[in-house]
């Protein structure tokens, strides 16, 4: 609701919702950070030399600032998180995480397809994110930020998502199809 309100709010009165949006994306950034904590990349995929993990966002990401501020320089394990800005044409290679906000509706599917079997953790917000092959999808539950996970996507990229993360996901799907829901998983 908030999202919805925010979206309207963002368009109509950005300053009123700017605070809550900033907060939201701070939280989301924190979530992203945590995602990194709870996801395992295949061996050798993370850059061994410079010990960094790149979170790529497109340069036209509206909330890139919040993301950068929250994530940049954070340490996960022995690696440092960096935010990389991507332009339209830039190669997504070298990204470990890709965040696609809801504004990326059009190119979303193509991008997802291109990284489909690459060890890139894709996190998005659009409704069709998971259907498009994304792995983690943010959604709002009241004023709480929640997320869903498409495990099949992770499988395809050979990323291993921690069970703990799975537990906390509102739903976990294994196919590109419809999510089963929380009731679906077995502990």
């Amino acid at each position: 609701m908030l999202l919805g309100a925010c979206m309207l709010g963002c368009v109509m009165s950005q300053s009123v919702d700017a605070q809550s949006a900033a907060e939201e994306y701070q939280v989301k950034a924190a979530f992203l950070f945590h995602f990194v904590q709870l996801v395992e990349w295949p061996a050798g995929t993370l850059d061994a030399s410079d010990r960094s993990i790149s979170l790529c966002i497109f340069d036209d990401e509206p909330h890139r600032r919040e993301l950068e501020n929250t994530i940049e320089g954070k340490v996960v394990g022995m690696r440092v998180l960096h935010v990389r800005l991507l332009d339209q044409r830039q190669d997504i290679q070298g990204c470990n995480i890709l965040f696609l906000s809801r504004d990326e509706g059009r190119r979303q599917a193509a991008i997802l397809r291109s990284v489909h079997d690459l060890p890139v953790l894709t996190v998005g917000e659009t409704d069709t994110f998971l259907a498009d092959g994304g792995m983690i999808h943010f959604h709002l539950d009241g004023d709480k930020i929640r997320f869903d996970i498409n495990a099949a996507g992770a499988d395809a990229s050979h990323l291993r998502i921690s069970a703990r993360l799975l537990l906390l996901a509102t739903s976990v799907t294994h196919t590109t199809g419809i999510g089963v829901g929380k009731e679906g998983y077995a502990h």
Partner: protein, 820 residues
Amino acid sequence: MHIRDLSLRANLILLILSASALAVLLASLGFGFYERQNYQASAIREMTALSDTLGANTAASLAFNDQKTAEEMLGALVTEPHVLDARLYDSEGRIFAEYRGPSRKSGFELAGLRPDGAYFDQQSLTLFRGVRLNGERTGSIALVFDLNDLRSRLLQYAKIALFVLLASVLVTLLASMRLAVSIGEPLVKLAGVARRVSIDKDYSVRAAIRAGGETGLLIRSFNEMLSQIESSESALKEALSSLQESDDRYALAARGANDGLWDWNLITGQIYFSPRWNHMLGYTVSEDWSDPEAWFSHIHTIDRDRVRAEIASHREGKTPEFASEYRMRHKSGGYIWMLSRGIAIRDPSGKAIRMAGSQTDITEGKISDPLTKIPNRLYLVDRIESAIETAGQQDATFAVLFVDLDQFKLVNDSLGHAAGDELLIDVAGRLRASIRTSSRPGGYGKSVVARVGGDEFAILLDHIQHEAEPAIVAVRILERLSEPFHLEGRRMFVSASIGIALSHASASPEDLLSNADTAMYSAKGNGKGRYEYFDEAMRERIVNRFEIETGLRKAIDENQLVLHYQPIISTVGDRICGFEALVRWNHPQRGMIPPGEFIPVAEESDLIVLLGRWVLHESCRQMAEWHRSFPGVSALTVNVNVSSRQLCDSHLIADVELALAESGLDPSCLALEVTESSIMSNAEQTLATLDRLRAMNVRLEIDDFGTGYSSLSYLQRLPFGTLKIDRSFIRDLSAGSGSLDIAKAIVEMAHSLRLDVIAEGVETDEQLGLLRGLGCNYVQGYLFSKPVPAEAAGALYREIRERGPFVAESALPTVCELRR
């Protein structure tokens, strides 16, 4: 009350009890503590694990702010009943999620967030742990654990422990009491035994207590100790009693021995005298001398210096022991004889430092004759001395009698020493009896009968009032002694010679004894069996006699004796048929001593035997020589007088044999003359000797016939061939005298008994004529020749042979006839 004052038992019990209680307590505490720690630790571990798990699980929820999930996760704690509460705090310490357990008590509130750790309170354990997501702390988790379980468990433990404690205390109490008893009782018993032993002083008691280990050792050692004490007690008792016994024995022995003891410390000069020592001298014990001079001052002056010398001699080591006999003055004034003996102890250098010994009263031994038990000479002398003193003071007179037994040696030799001793004892008794009974009332007071020699007795006759009194006593003695003595079953007659010496002013005991002795000697010389008073002239005679006796021996050895020969003429043919040999003494100083003087003296002793032997030898020799010198005189005989002593002498036969053998004289040419009296006094004894002599073919002649108490039956039996009429008859021979009748009777009797008769002492022709008429076979006397020396006799014989009328039987071929 100090712990030491408690009894061993109490101490033991207390100790064991407290030890066991302490042990149980400590164990319980230890275990309890350990259990608690363990429990707590495991609780912590459990909870830590739990919280970690939860934390890990909820970390993501915290990160993703998923309260619901977090709560759900915490809700899983419902399976843990001990977990009372759980909280999840975010990084700011705000409670993110909470779980309230079912067993949570109301009102329980978890305290605020605390640093990590475990926090205990009464009932619960609160554990605070960090929650991490990928190593990064995202918050904290707190779990509250219920400890009540632990508590109850611990309480249970405590109960069990207490029960165990009580039980163990009880058991320990019993066990320790038992132990205390088993230890204490023997000790108490032992103490009891020890007390009893010390009270009763009975060391034969033993502790019969059974116990093991150290107590047993103690008891055994205790018993051993008692054994030791007992044995040393008894050893001590033995030693003591042995010492006592030895002491008693010594005292008894000393008493029995009647000895006094003396102990002289030569260094200090002090001397100890035993009570007996003092008692012997008549002093009571309280007079305890310690000065040796007290001893010496009591010694008789005569003996004193000698005793001192003898002591000194032993002290200086010159004699191996000290022994001395001396007189000591008794308290009563008299003297007693003491034998003192002693020995000195010396120091390493040899110096005498102590001398000790005994003193024995030997008075009785000293003063009495052991055989007869009457006093001895020593005592007598003492008594005479005191009599002299008294006589001097009181102007009284006393006498000393010397009694000598005449035939003692005869008895001794013929019947043996036992008979001799019997005789002496009897004589002593008779003498004493003679003194006791007297006409005088009260007897002779202090008179003493003593034995002073082998067969000599002396009598002190004290307080005589008349000089004749001793004579009366002497007569009585002689009378008593004349009664027969029964010795060895035989009857013997013994006489004595008595000498009497009267006291006079300046006489000493020795003088008086000597005088009495002289008088006795004189009595003996004058016929024996008599008494005589001493007078001065007697002394000379006695001395003379003594001289003769001593000279005679010498005379025999030095050929001072010489034989004179008196011819015996046969009345048939007036031939010299033989010679009588008569001994003379040619004393160098005194000249010719007649036989009357020395023969009796000789007869008193064994000198007569020596004399006789010499006479036999010489006479045989001489006669044998004459036989050789005068051819055809084989019938010539020599007559030799033989005394009764010689007859009794066992050597007579041998002497005769020897004399005959050495001289070569034919036995039939030797005639032995034996006086009638000497035959008769010992007829039985001499018969054997005479028979033997006769068997040797020696002629036997009875001499001095008519003077003795002849038994005619004996005459027949005795092997005599010839009778010699005593000269007393010949002297008085004259026609119509009684002597002629006697001589006639003798000749007839002799002839009828087939004996020849020789008449001695013919001095006149008248006598000769009468004798011829009587038919006397032979004559001898001064008419023909007095006894002359051998040479003269030989010359006489030759002369008569050649001349006649006493023609030797040269014409006659045979021996003198009618001689048997």
